[in-house]
C-alpha cells in the first residue's frame, strides 16, 4: 500500500533531490525519537510527500542539521522536524496500526498469528498517536470497517472500494492543515488515495490471486496470468490510473507552494506519471524502489 508516491529521480534537480532526502531522513529520525527504533521501519516515501506538502502550505520553513545515520556513516543534511512533523508521524502510526489490524481481522490472510504479533508491537505507539489525534483515529476505524464490509460483499465498484482509504487521506490533511486547508488540497489527497488504492490492486494481482485474497480487479474474473489480464483490461486500467493522475494534476495547479515546490512538483507531475507508466507497461518493481 505504501511506497508508490516517489519522485522521478532521473528528472529531478539535484537541489530538489537533496532537499527531498533531508526530509526523508528527518522523518526516519523523528519516528525513531517519537515511536522507538523499531518503528523507523515504517518510514515510507508517501509520508515524505505529506510532510513536504503540509509544511509548505503552513508556511513552515524547516531547519537542518548534519548527522550520520545507521545506514550511512557519512554525515548528511537532515531536516530537524517540529510539532507538525510529530503529528504527521502520528498519522503514519495510525495508518500502520489500522492496516495491520485489518490484516489480522481478514480471515483470508494465511498467518493470523503473525498479523496478531505485528499489531501487538505497534499497539503501544498507536495509543500515543490516538491521544494526539482522537477524531482521526475514530474516522480510520470507521473507514476500515466500511472497507471490510465492501470486501465481504465482493463489491465490484473500484471507486466505492477506494473511497474509504481516499477519504482517510483527505481527512488527515484537513486535520493537519486546520484553517489553512482548501478544497484543492483535500481533493488532491483524495485522488492520491484513490490512485494508491488502484495501483496497489494492479501491483498485487499475482499475489492476491495466489493467496486467494480480495482484489477488486479479480472479482468475477477468471485470472490466468498478468499478461492476459492486461491484454483484456488495458483500457480500463489506463483510465482508472490516468483519470486519477489528471485530477491530481488539476488540483495541484490550484495550490500555491513556495519552500518545497520543487520536490512536490517533481513528485506530482513526473513521479506519479512515471509509476503509472511502469505499472501499465507491466515493468514495475514498485515494492523495491530506493531513492
Amino acid at each position: 500500500m505504501f511506497g508508490y508516491v516517489i519522485p522521478d529521480k532521473m528528472n529531478m534537480y539535484m537541489k530538489d533531490y537533496y532537499h527531498y532526502r533531508a526530509h526523508y531522513c528527518g522523518l526516519c529520525k523523528r519516528i525513531g525519537q517519537d515511536c522507538g527504533q523499531f518503528m523507523r521501519l515504517s518510514t515510507n516515501y508517501d509520508l515524505v510527500f505529506l510532510d513536504l506538502l503540509v509544511h509548505d502550505i503552513l508556511g513552515l520553513k524547516s531547519e537542518y542539521k548534519n548527522e550520520p545515520c545507521i545506514l550511512s556513516p557519512k554525515k548528511k543534511s537532515i531536516a530537524k522536524g517540529d510539532e507538525v512533523t510529530d503529528r504527521i508521524v502520528d498519522v503514519n502510526t495510525l495508518l500502520m496500526y489500522y492496516k495491520l489490524l485489518d490484516d489480522k481481522l481478514d480471515s483470508r490472510k494465511p498467518n493470523p498469528v503473525k498479523s496478531l504479533a505485528r499489531v501487538a508491537v505497534v499497539s503501544s505507539k498507536y495509543k500515543k498517536a490516538k491521544k494526539h489525534l482522537p477524531e482521526l483515529d475514530s474516522l480510520f476505524a470507521t473507514e476500515y470497517g466500511r472497507l471490510r464490509d465492501y470486501e465481504k460483499a465482493n463489491e465490484t465498484s473500484i471507486d466505492k472500494l477506494a473511497d474509504p482509504f481516499a477519504n482517510m487521506l483527505r481527512q488527515s490533511i484537513k486535520q493537519l492543515l486546520g484553517d489553512k486547508s482548501t478544497e484543492a488540497v483535500e481533493n488532491l489527497m483524495y485522488f492520491l488515495g484513490k490512485w494508491i488504492y488502484f495501483i496497489d490492486a494492479i501491483d498485487d494481482l499475482d499475489k492476491d490471486n495466489k493467496k486467494k485474497e480480495f482484489n477488486p480487479l479479480l472479482v468475477g474474473y477468471n485470472y490466468e496470468g498478468k499478461d492476459k489480464f492486461f491484454a483484456d483490461n488495458f483500457a480500463r486500467l489506463e483510465f482508472i490510473l490516468m483519470s486519477s493522475y489528471n485530477k491530481m494534476y488539476e488540483c495541484f495547479q490550484q495550490i500555491e507552494l513556495t519552500i518545497n515546490e520543487g520536490p512536490l512538483t517533481n513528485i506530482v507531475w513526473y513521479g506519479i506519471l512515471m509509476r503509472s507508466k511502469e505499472i501499465l507497461n507491466n515493468k514495475c518493481d514498485c515494492k523495491k524502489a530506493r531513492i
Binding site: 471507486d159 473511497d163 489506463e238 490516468m242 493522475y245 489528471n246 507531475w269 513526473y270
Partner: protein, 217 residues
C-alpha cells in the same frame, strides 16, 4: 401475445422493472447453461432462450409505457437542481426511487458519480446511456469529453505535433519550479538527440557544397 410474454417470464402483468429484470436474470442463466447439454435438451434450451429474449423486450416496453402514463412530469429537474447545489446524497436517493432506468437515468447517475469523484463508475454509466440510445448526441458528447479530459497528460496517447500545440495553448503552459509540463517533458527528452542529428545533417550538406560547418566532423 401480452399474456404469453408475462407467462414466459413467470411474472404478473403489473410486475415492476426490478421484478422483470430479476425473472429474466434467473431464467437466462438457466437456459444459457442448459443449451450446452446434448440432444433435445440442448435444442429446447436454445429455443427457450430465444423466446425469453423476445418476451423480456416486450415486458419492458409494456412497463415503460405504464411508467410514462403514471409519471408524466419530468423527474430529473429536481435531481439536476440537487446536484448543482451539492446535495449529492439527496439526489442519489431521488434517483434510486425512479424505477424505470432509461438512458437519461444512467446519464444522471453518471453525473452524480462524477461529482463524487467516482470516475470509473461515471464512465460506465455514460457507456450504458450511449448503448441504450446511441443516436442521442448528449450522451456521446459527454462520454467523449470525459475520455478527453481524463487523458490530457496521458503518455500512451500519440498526439500529433499540431494537436499538442493547440492543447498547450489552451492549457496553462507555465513551467513550475523549473520543471516543464509533463507532456512537454516527454517531448523535450528527445530534443538533445534531435539537435545532434540536425547538426550532423547540416554539416554533411555544407561539406557537399564545398564548405564545412563543423570542422572536427
Amino acid at each position: 401475445m401480452y399474456k404469453d410474454a408475462y407467462s414466459v417470464l413467470g411474472i404478473n402483468s403489473d410486475a415492476t422493472f426490478v421484478e422483470i429484470d430479476e425473472a429474466y436474470r434467473v431464467l437466462s442463466m438457466k437456459y444459457k447453461t442448459d443449451r450446452f447439454l446434448e440432444g433435445e435438451e440442448g435444442t429446447l434450451a436454445t429455443k427457450k432462450l430465444e423466446e425469453l429474449e423476445l418476451a423480456y423486450a416486450e415486458c419492458r416496453e409494456l412497463a415503460k409505457s405504464r411508467a410514462s402514463y403514471d409519471n408524466p412530469t419530468y423527474k430529473y429537474d429536481a435531481i439536476s437542481s440537487l446536484v448543482k447545489s451539492g446535495s449529492l446524497e439527496e439526489a442519489q436517493k431521488k434517483l434510486d426511487n425512479i424505477e424505470y432506468r432509461d438512458a437519461d437515468w444512467h446519464y444522471y447517475q453518471s453525473i452524480i458519480y462524477y461529482k463524487k469523484n467516482w470516475l470509473d463508475d461515471s464512465k460506465k454509466q455514460l457507456e450504458i446511456s450511449v448503448n441504450l440510445d446511441p443516436t442521442n448526441q448528449k450522451y456521446t458528447n459527454a462520454l467523449s469529453r470525459l475520455n478527453e479530459d481524463m487523458a490530457k497528460t496521458n503518455p500512451f496517447n500519440q498526439p500529433n505535433a499540431n494537436m499538442n500545440q493547440s492543447n498547450q495553448n489552451n492549457q496553462n503552459n507555465q513551467n513550475r519550479a523549473g520543471y516543464a509540463q509533463p507532456t512537454q517533458q516527454q517531448q523535450n527528452s528527445k530534443a538533445c538527440c534531435d539537435t545532434c542529428c540536425c547538426m550532423m545533417c547540416m554539416d554533411n550538406c555544407c561539406e557537399c557544397c564545398g564548405g564545412d560547418l563543423i570542422s572536427c566532423c
